[in-house]
Amino acid sequence: MTTAAIPYVGSTMDRIEGPEKVTGRARYAFEHSPQDLAYAVPVPATIARGEVRSIDIDAVVQLPGVIAAIWHGNAPRLSTPENAELAVLQSPRVAYRGQYIAVVVAETLQDAREAARRLRVEYDAEPHDVELRVDHPGMYRPDQVNPFYPTDTEMGDPDSAFAAAPIVVDATYSTPAEHNNPMEPHATVALWDGDGLTLYDSTQGASTIRDTLAPLFGLPPENLRVISPHVGGGFGSKINPMPSVVVAALAAKQVGRPVKLSVTRQQMFAVTGYRTPTIQRVRLGADADGRLTTIVHEAFEQSSRIYEFAEQTTTPTRVMYAAPNRRTSHRLVRLDVPTPTYMRAPGEAPGMFALESAMDELAVAGKIDPVELRIRNEPAADPESGLPFSSRNLVACLREGARRFGWADRDPAPGVRRRGRWLIGTGVASSTYPTYRRPSQASARCDPDGMFTVRIAASDIGTGARTALTQIAADTLRTSPGRVRVEIGDSAMPSAIMAGGSMGTASWGTAVVRACQSLAEELDRRYGEVPAAGLETSADTTEEIDAQQRFSRHAFGAQFAEVAVDSDSGETRVLRLLGGFAAGRIINPKTARSQFIGGMTMGLSMALLEESIMDDEFGDYLNHDFAQYHIAACADVRDIDAFWIEEDDPHLNPMGSKGVGEIGIVGTAAAVANAVYHATGVRIRDLPITLDKLVR
């Protein structure tokens, strides 16, 4: 074993799977082709509510190449899942338009598609209700919001404080439904072998899929193996198993052959989740110096009839700014709509659009610089829980960001800077994202040739997890990354938390460090002698994480935007985005920067383009493809950069890291909207910022 002079954690390292990804050798789920394969094409419901009365299966199985057509009338039975979305083809009920009601299996993709298209379905349709509105009689208070936060919080007397405040903002903001749209559609290859099921699946968490699906199919968990070496993005939509995985496994069981299934891009707008639309009312009251006396943030959201997904929209408001009087709340209505799910920074992304827009409005109302306003309201401890922050460097991000961006001489007057046809403006917003860590297991092995193998059912959805874990393992084992092979993406490996909540690296890294530490100790005891059979250790971090001290743990950041708005057409272009983040220790500057700017790019897209439009008449998302649901393209993204403030926080995990996958999208849309106000004098409170809202 060699002693590494410089730690690899903190140093730049190219992605380990880079060569495979640029040569096309990296295989994603659908690219596994077992022998004797058949193709499954699922069939979506064309009503938003009601029942499937009958499906003419017989006609379709006569068609060329068709092996089977499956619906609730002939599908294998499943145990009742906790999430009714997964009870696929188990009942005639239709809960939303686009829900899978049948699947056709055929010899080729062409045959299966043709047959699925021709399937004749009779429905008993019922009137549907798909419109989210604040005064909907079905609005209710969920028991908690994701993942385990109280629904409502209140301190002091926010209403009286608001009435008494000399400077106030009372505004309602809205964010539309947005769809995750990872570039790789959700796909599964399902393969039964007796009582064993193997799934090549596009997932953010192999262990999660196994643990959820095994009971559904009545299997002991060890009989279900989920393999996902490479995943083409997920952004939250591949955390929970989606109906498509179940359909693939059911179809393979029914036909007794391996089956491949991919959700189409159009179907992804119904069956793979989305960010709930939100309507948010924010009330801020401040004294003449801009010190907040009251903060009220109320959110209204939707979920489907069959599953309660309660997004945590106002939770960031609980940690952002000091104020003695405060209230946050969430209300939910169940509609005949698809089930929402996590989408990059669920809660924080829409919630901070509202809060940070309101802060900008407060700055305007109080004639205070918006950077200074935020600094003035910096709390000494977590404003609601009272817990100390493990570290908090929002102020440093704001100050350093302002310096680099060139904020100092900003004239606050709106609508006065012109460059030809273009009106120019700048804006700022804060970012935050909680720092979680969950129990995981890992193993570490040394072979007589001096090579190390670390195994954990982690998932690399584009975050660079494989690379970060290699760096972490190399440092702990006091060796070089070249001697460490990190194996992930397989539920047969030690069980791990999914890639989500920006907690992957912190959770997996802790398990990897502990497994590698015991291997290193074991090797020291043997004076470095490796037995012929090799040496293996393992770790489980459940106790360590359960015992961690109570702190308020969050990453913070500041986002600065410069925009140009075409004074004739209302077109907005983002000229510059600069994000400064304080996210603990950065494990790999190269991949972390990509995560930050990737999140900011999605934030730009959220600000200007993204909106899933509900068709009230037919009850589905109307613009369900990339021609109509626009995401930022290359030409939309000009100058985006990120920097970070190094934090030395001993209260996090052995790496001292906070997670960088989501914070980049938080606050971006508000920074852009605030810049649009500065450019034009028009305050856009409803995303996205489209031309029609600026041209009046």
């Binding site: 992605r15 880079g18 990804k21 640029v22 040569t23 096309g24 295989r27 994603y28 659908f30 690219e31 082709s33 069939v43 064309t46 009365r53 009958s54 068609l63 060329p64 190449g65 080729t108 062409q110 043709e114 699925a116 298209r117 021709r118 399937l119 004749r120 379905v121 009779e122 429905y123 008993d124 570039m183 790789e184 559609p185 083409g232 993005g233 952004f235 189409t264 891009r265 959805i461 584009g462 660079g464 991949t591 990509s594 995560q595 700017i597 990737g598 999140g599 790019t601 897209s605 493809d625 990339f626 021609a627 995401i631 930022a632 393209a633 290359c634 030409a635 993204v637 000009r638 950069d641």
Partner: protein, 184 residues
Amino acid sequence: MKSEPNTPGQEVPVSAPVMVDLRLSVNRDSYPITVDTRETLLDTLRERLDLTGAKKGCDHGQCGACTVLVDGRRMKACLALTVTLDDREITTVEGLADGDTPHPLQAAFIENDAFQCGYCTPGQLCSAVGMLAEASAGWPSSVTADVTGEPRLDDEEIRERMSGNLCRCGAYVNIVAAIGQVAR
């Protein structure tokens, strides 16, 4: 409610699939193959030839993940029927490297971290190869100021010319840097 096919539209009578023999030339290898006339080049490559480098992101010509080169020009493989490509020279991401030596764009993508999940990457790379050839042949884009001269591939030109390839991970900044490094 009356029984209706799940996808509305004119009902065409069912007939057996029409199969055609042809010779497909991919990455300088020749494949004699019988294809269904409904089969797209993307499905032929991925499902029949085990060339899974080209990706399916939308199957509707809207994302660019399936971009390949046909006789050196970029083409969306999900929009091309294989039966039309007899005798054409097809290059996929698997064919960009020269043996073990990566194509300069492949090396630049790694160096600049021009991808995250990697799913759009094969399309970005093939598109970039085709785009550089278009530019050096003097083809202007909609942001080219002087359409008579040789276009200079600054960042704005690269962004414009690469906008048919979506990247949801948001790697555009690094993609433009990687291509710029090779182009200039």
